[in-house]
């Protein structure tokens, strides 16, 4: 099966969702996305980091240097209050969109 790459504008909300459970560093987020999508989704690493930096600039996430389990220095991202609000609004919008898209494409009326 061909792997999917995220539709434009959806990566940010997925990253926020990942961080809504616990602070993570970049690689952990990649792994989380792969697991959650059961391997269906493949995110290009550079795209993920652009998204993280963008979210940080907008104040949706905060970054702090920390140490991994293997004692390596890593940059941990944490969602902010504004980030949670954004996540809520944006996922609601996307879900409605997806439902509409589904209805149209599956041809409920046809």
């Amino acid at each position: 099966m061909q792997k999917l790459s995220p539709i434009k504008g959806t990566l940010d909300v997925m990253v926020l969702k990942a961080l809504s459970w616990t602070p993570m560093h970049g690689f952990e987020i990649t792994c989380w996305l792969e697991e959650e999508s059961a391997g269906a989704l493949e995110v290009e690493d550079s795209a993920l980091y652009q998204a993280l930096y963008r979210l940080e600039e907008r104040g949706y996430v905060e970054a702090e240097w920390g140490v991994t389990e293997n004692n390596r220095k890593a940059r941990y991202y944490r969602i902010t209050t504004e980030g949670r609000a954004q996540l809520k609004a944006e996922s609601a919008r996307l879900l409605r969109y997806a439902a509409t898209l589904t209805a149209i494409l599956s041809g409920a009326r046809g």
Partner: protein, 908 residues
């Protein structure tokens, strides 16, 4: 927390390197983890590496993009943090200032007075000097033509009243864009009841385009309306007169206005505040040729000198080269034969100069006062600095704690500067109120003759105050900042605040001394000016201008039947007889009034007119020349000396029997008697007045010298003949000496005289004092403002001394307590505190006196009969200063002596 302050202003280079390194670290870690993950899935190391890179995507590009985003975010954050820090500082400052209202109020008031004084003085200087006359374009390039010559050998004369012919001579000048002539004259506008005396501006038609003004309504004159010798009777109203007499009526153009009994058609209204090139208001403008008639040939003669000529320099031309050309044009044009005029040279000076080529005294005095007000501000700054230092000293433990907690020096400096700028800013707001109030007062009371159409606080004054406030804020913050920079953390932390709280600080002592010294300088200045003013007002001028009203009657101009409407000889004699009769009847009527002590009439009155005629003294070849000029003649009726208040020293006064046709008699002044007949009795001597063929006039009396025009005058010879016996002089004034208030009598006299002769156009009645007041004004200005500023400085210095000593005492409570516990008597404690203030003040006084004595030389010219080292003034100032210092230290000293040792020690 520390790193936050590193970003205080903008991202330093180091910070950028850090960002770049972080981006790299992050990418490296990711790729490493990915490789490990792939190897864990069974790939070889090499395969894993290349797969990891592939999955990351365009590495250099994304690395660059991440860096850019991170930098942008970083910059936003640092701006926000600086802003937050500023807001925090601001809140902290306001809180601390609110916590100490007395302290804050003292500082704000002090600064308000200092800044306000400067703003007010700037407003005045701006009007008198910097801004130039309103509606005049490029006033720097306008210059006035002056004549320099000698009428009596060795006596240089410079003046701007010159013949109209000089204006014509400048028509072809190449160094200037143009020339124009103007003159001013006080004339009657209206008739009878509604008439008033108005400043009339006479100007050539090209005057208005030359200065660059355009009419507010209608137009100024055309060339055709100003054709010499008799131009068209058209008039342009001054803005204020238009509002006052015509109620600002827009349809005034085409109406008429009566000037000296002649009707002028109104063609325009001048813009508000336009005053020609001087600052004195003008009521009505008329063409030069419509009102110039000193002689029928006035456009070409060199005999009449009444116009001022201004020129506008071509761009790039210096006044010097224009003056050279003016001078050579003059030499070519002069057709007269006067010695003095043949050797005269022309020069150019700025338009704001006086008619005699000197800078207006008001301006010199104002310039001094600007300096003085800045000294007041310096005193205020010293005072505030001192207060801030004392408080910083008290707060140093708190500051040390803050520094340990991570506040940086930079931040601390920012905090201190915010505080001083806030104080200066609030002070400036108060200062604007002071400037508004003080500026208005100064204008009305001290400079009433200047056109002030601008508000006392306009945009320029506002901007000036803003700059002064900024400078003040930085200045008062300077010492506390220096102290903060130098302070040692640890030392301050370990020591309790109280310990060493009373230690003398050299900066503080220096500031206190500086305040006292500057105050002394100002007070000496104030003293000198006040003494000058006193001298001016109590000057024995040989007459009492405060007690005398001068009355001039103006009749309408009458057309004669002679050539060109001139009066024939017979008509002139008839007119003279009529007027003489009028004065007879007027004197009779006025003298009969109960409220009048004495009244007389004279041709040639003090501060108004004086005459000279041919004079010969039998037995002398010539009459000695005096620097004051003369001899001057006046024709007077009986009671003249009694009326004006001149003392008769010898002989007798004129009586009603001395008149035309009676025996010729004369009264001389003291100088004349002494000069003509040294060591002899003047009484009985003989003077031949007028032509050689005239018979002897016998000297029957000697009076004291009196001033003729000026406050400062060199002695001159003056003699008096009975009215009716004079030859070749004319123009009678009535002089009246009321018993009571002068102003109250004016209306009464006006009614009496107007009813006596209803044909009188206008009666000009004013206290003789009015003629001298403009001369007294500079001293009034100097004395009042110097006194105000001096008083202000003294008050501020006293306040400063008091608060510093009070502060020190309150923080030395423990030391005082110990001293008292050890047996010091209250008197000793009191003496100790008193001594502290007085010693500093004494040093300040000494320094101030040195400065005052050095500076005194420069004000010498502005003083009136007062030495800049006047001992009375110096002693008065020193005592005032000492008393103030004592008073300022007494209260804290008294409080110090009441310290309860037990309480003081327990408190620690």
């Amino acid at each position: 927390m520390r790193s936050r302050f590193r970003r205080y202003l903008r991202l330093p280079l180091r910070r950028l390197t850090t960002i770049r390194a972080q981006v790299d670290d992050e990418i490296a870690l990711h790729i490493e983890l990915r490789i490990e993950q792939l190897i864990g899935k069974g790939l070889s190391r090499k395969e894993a590496e290349s797969e990891a890179r592939r999955r990351f995507g365009a590495l250099p590009a994304s690395r660059r993009r991440m860096f850019t985003t991170a930098r942008r975010k970083e910059r936003h954050m640092s701006v926000r943090e600086s802003w937050d820090a500023l807001r925090q500082d601001w809140r902290y400052v306001l809180r601390t200032l609110r916590l100490e209202p007395v302290f804050t109020l003292t500082i704000v008031l002090t600064l308000a007075l200092g800044i306000g004084a400067n703003a007010a003085m700037f407003g005045i200087i701006d009007r008198l000097l910097l801004r130039g006359p309103t509606h005049v374009v490029d006033s720097d390039r306008l210059q006035r033509v002056y004549v320099n010559t000698e009428f009596t050998p060795g006596e240089k004369a410079t003046f701007s009243a010159i013949p109209f012919a000089m204006y014509s001579a400048l028509k072809d000048a190449r160094t200037v864009e143009g020339a124009a002539a103007f003159a001013r004259n006080k004339l009657t506008v209206g008739r009878g009841e509604g008439s008033e005396l108005v400043d009339i501006g006479l100007a050539t038609w090209d005057f208005f385009p030359l200065v660059g003004v355009s009419a507010y309504r209608g137009r100024f004159f055309t060339k055709e309306e100003d054709l010499p010798p008799t131009g068209t009777r058209v008039a342009v109203l001054g803005y204020d007169l238009w509002r006052r007499r015509f109620g600002g009526d827009e349809s005034v153009i085409g109406k008429t206005i009566e000037i000296s009994g002649e009707v002028y058609a109104i063609v325009g209204v001048a813009p508000r505040g336009f005053t020609s090139v001087r600052l004195q208001p003008i009521g009505v403008w008329v063409p030069m040729s419509a009102l110039s008639r000193c002689r029928p040939d006035w456009p070409t003669t060199w005999q009449c000198q009444w116009v001022d000529v201004i020129v506008r320099l071509k761009p790039g031309m210096t006044p010097h080269s224009a003056a050279a050309e003016t001078n050579s044009l003059y030499k070519g044009a002069y057709t007269g034969k006067s010695e003095s005029w043949l050797k005269a040279t022309m020069s150019l000076l700025p338009i704001h100069y006086n008619g005699d080529g000197t800078e207006p005294t008001e301006l010199s005095v104002s310039r001094w006062l600007m300096g003085v007000s800045s000294v007041v501000l310096l005193v205020a700054c010293a005072n505030v600095s001192n207060l801030l230092l004392v408080r910083a000293f008290r707060r140093r433990r708190e500051i040390a704690v803050r520094m340990v907690l991570g506040i940086t020096r930079l931040r601390l400096v920012g905090l201190l500067l915010t505080e001083s700028l806030v104080l200066a800013g609030v002070g400036a707001i108060g200062g604007l109120a002071v400037a508004n109030w003080g500026g208005q007062l100064t204008r009305v009371l001290l400079l009433p003759n200047v056109e002030w159409s601008q508000a006392a606080v306009d945009s320029r004054v506002f901007l000036f105050s803003l700059l002064v406030a900024l400078a003040t804020g930085l200045l008062i913050g300077l010492f506390p900042v220096l102290q903060a920079m130098a302070s040692e953390l640890g030392a301050s932390l370990k020591a309790g605040t109280r310990e060493g709280g009373g230690r003398r600080s050299p900066i503080r002592a220096a500031l206190t001394i500086a305040q006292a010294a500057l105050s002394v300088v100002l007070l000496v200045g104030a003293g000198l000016f006040v003494k000058s003013l006193w001298n001016v007002e109590h000057l024995d001028m040989g007459i009492e201008p405060d007690r005398v009203l001068a009355i001039t009657a103006e009749w309408p101009r009458t057309q004669g039947t002679g050539k060109a409407g001139a009066l024939t000889n017979d008509e002139r004699i008839a007119r003279r007889a009529y007027r003489s009769q009028f004065y007879d009847r007027a004197l009779e009527r006025v003298r009969a009034l109960g409220s009048i002590e004495a009244a007389t009439a004279a041709v040639g009155t003090p501060f108004s007119t004086s005459f000279g005629v041919d004079l010969r003294v039998p037995g002398r070849d010539s009459i000695p020349e005096l620097p004051g000029g003369g001899p001057y003649i006046a024709a007077v009726r009986s009671d003249f000396f009694k009326t004006v208040g001149t003392r008769l020293l010898q002989g007798r006064d004129f009586t009603a029997a001395d008149r035309a046709g009676s025996e010729l008699v004369v009264i001389v002044n003291q100088t004349m008697g002494r000069m003509l007949w040294p060591n002899e009795q003047a009484i009985g001597k003989c003077l031949i007045i007028g032509a050689d063929t005239m018979p002897c006039s016998q000297v029957v009396g000697v009076v004291e010298d009196s001033h003729r025009y000026e406050l400062r005058e060199k002695p001159a010879m003056q003699y008096y003949v009975p009215m009716g016996q004079e030859i070749g002089i004319g123009g009678t004034d009535l002089l009246v000496r009321p018993r009571g208030d002068l102003e109250d009598t004016i209306e009464l006299l006006r009614k009496e005289l107007q009813s006596l002769d209803p044909t009188i156009l206008f009666l000009r009645i004013h206290p003789m004092r009015n003629a001298i007041d403009p001369q007294v004004r500079p001293w009034k200005l100097g004395a009042s403002l110097f006194a105000i500023f001096g008083g202000l400085a003294l008050l501020i210095a006293a306040l400063g001394l008091y608060s510093v000593i009070a502060y020190l005492v309150s923080h030395r409570t423990r030391e005082l307590g110990i001293r008292m516990a050890l047996g010091a008597r209250t008197a000793q404690i009191r003496g100790m505190i008193l001594q502290e203030g007085v010693v500093l003040t004494l040093i300040g006084i000494a320094a101030g006196l040195v400065f005052a004595l050095i500076g005194g030389r420069f004000v010498n010219d502005l003083l009136f009969d007062t030495s800049p080292r006047d001992p009375f003034v110096l002693i008065a100032v020193v005592s005032a200063m000492l008393l103030t210092a004592l008073a300022a230290s007494t209260l804290p000293a008294w409080r110090a002596a009441r310290v309860d040792p037990v309480e003081a020690l327990r408190a620690e």
